[in-house]
């Protein structure tokens, strides 16, 4: 594979592009793990949030508020440097990056999902209750199928935030596209100047994110809640 790149692009350029693409796989793995882990945690938080229990509601609201207000960078520093030093343990960059991104993703996803569940009309809950369904059954048979359609577009859209978020993990020593790219940009090699490397990296990130953005837009058009509201996004 590497030889092919070198044969096609020549000595420095082929190696650079190959290494960048090779490092991209870790960006993808980390994004997938963060999305799946964050999704699981978010499902739990959403469930606690909408269940008829005051304390559960309070806890999940605080959780969402706290982790939406904490910068992702701070979570990474806390998981990668703070906690290991406080307890005098070794935490490898994978673990630290996964923990921070899972918490980050769960806070946002559960907020999106709560919104989707709440946008199902109250009449649906009342109707299900009237025919004798319990909370979990109502949720599974009546509410979730409807909420799912509303939540799908913003959920796919949020994956873009996660991918972009992984670009910060290099700060605690995670080896991904960002880490390798930055190393090349610092190297005094012709063809790896910052004004070549960073646009190239941007293109790779764009190639990962843009299909998801397009898919999310497609979903929104086909059966999204037509609210015309743009969810806040950053990173």
């Amino acid at each position: 594979m590497k030889d092919l790149f070198i044969a096609l692009l020549g000595k420095p350029d082929g190696i650079i592009l190959f290494q960048l693409l090779e490092a991209t796989q870790y960006t993808i793995y980390l994004s997938l793990i963060a999305f799946l882990g964050g999704g699981l945690l978010a499902a739990l938080i959403t469930l606690v949030r909408i269940a008829p229990n005051t304390w559960g509601k309070r806890i999940s609201v605080s959780y969402i508020w706290l982790f939406q207000s904490t910068p992702l960078l701070m979570m990474l520093f806390l998981a990668g440097l703070g906690v290991p030093r406080l307890f005098d343990i070794d935490v490898n960059p994978w673990t630290a990056a996964i923990i921070s991104l899972v918490i980050y993703a769960s806070a946002y996803l559960s907020d999106v999902w709560r919104g989707a569940v709440e946008s199902v009309p109250v009449g649906q809950w009342e109707g299900a209750r009237a025919i004798g369904l319990g909370f979990l059954k109502t949720l599974r048979l009546v509410i979730l199928p409807q909420a799912f359609r509303i939540a799908l577009a913003p959920t796919v859209g949020f994956m873009v935030q996660i991918i972009k978020g992984t670009s910060l993990a290099y700060i605690i020593g995670f080896h991904d596209l960002m880490a390798i790219g930055k190393r090349w940009a610092n190297a005094p090699v012709e063809g790896s100047e910052p004004f070549i490397i960073f646009p190239l990296m941007a293109l790779i990130y764009f190639a990962l994110c843009y299909p998801l953005t397009l898919y999310s837009r497609h979903l929104e058009r086909s059966f999204g809640a037509n609210t015309n509201k743009v969810a806040p996004a950053a990173v």
Binding site: T70, P71, L72, L73, M74, L78, R85, F195, P232, A233
Partner: protein, 225 residues
């Protein structure tokens, strides 16, 4: 395990650094947001009015920025552009430029969606009355959409503020930079980053308060909300 927050707050040097960091973070973010908003307005109007060719470029720009990480944009602006074009700027100026370019895309998306919420009939009616394009925009579309866009712009602004810590990576002495310095001196990483987190939250709460004040003043006609 032992929490030693006092190592930070008993040292006047560290307190001073944190205060400087908060100020710089807030100022650079504000500058980026104000310039970014101006740029976003241009982008959104270009798209809304479907100005030939330009509206296509504006859409591509917004999509590109929104689908790439801020840190890559920042490094390109701070290290790539100066080398390519041969200029020398202070670190904070690079940060303001990068944040402006980044914020503008996120704001532009909100503005574009906001303009679209104005009923098409309003636009058609203004057109039937023979109002010129800019009057249609400034007197019909803008006033009807700005109030409801304000809330979205607010929360977007807070979100963006929380991502600005990356500017420490190009040497801007912002809040994160101050934290990293204190961390390198004290090795109390946990306490340092908890302190930073609290400060970031406090500043974003202050921004929220400020925005609420602006909203009250600017949209008095909407009544108490």
């Amino acid at each position: 395990m032992e929490l030693r927050f006092f190592e930070i707050y008993r040292n006047p040097e560290y307190l001073w650094l944190l205060a400087e960091g908060v100020t710089l973070s807030a100022l650079v973010t504000l500058a980026g947001a104000i310039l970014g908003f101006a740029m976003a307005a241009c982008l959104a109007v270009t798209r809304y009015e479907r100005i030939p060719v330009l509206h296509w470029i504006a859409a591509a720009y917004v999509d590109f920025i929104r689908n790439t990480p801020l840190i890559v944009q920042l490094f390109f602006v701070a290290f790539g552009l100066p080398q390519l074009l041969g200029y020398v700027w202070p670190f904070w100026a690079h940060a303001v430029l990068a944040l402006t370019l980044n914020f503008s895309a996120y704001f532009a998306e909100i503005l574009r969606a906001g303009f679209q919420t104005v009923d098409a009939g309003q636009h058609d009616a203004a057109r039937a009355l023979g109002l010129p394009r800019f009057v249609r925009f400034f007197k019909i579309v803008l006033p009807q959409s700005i109030a409801q866009m304000f809330a979205s712009l607010n929360s977007q602004f807070i979100f963006l503020f929380l991502t600005t810590g990356v500017i420490s990576e190009i040497g801007v002495r912002d809040l994160t930079f101050a934290g990293l310095y204190i961390d390198s001196r004290t090795f109390r990483s946990f306490e340092v980053f908890i302190t930073l987190t609290v400060l970031y939250i406090l500043v974003s709460l202050a921004f929220k308060g400020l925005m609420r004040l602006v909203e009250k003043r600017a949209f008095r006609w909407k009544g108490a909300r």
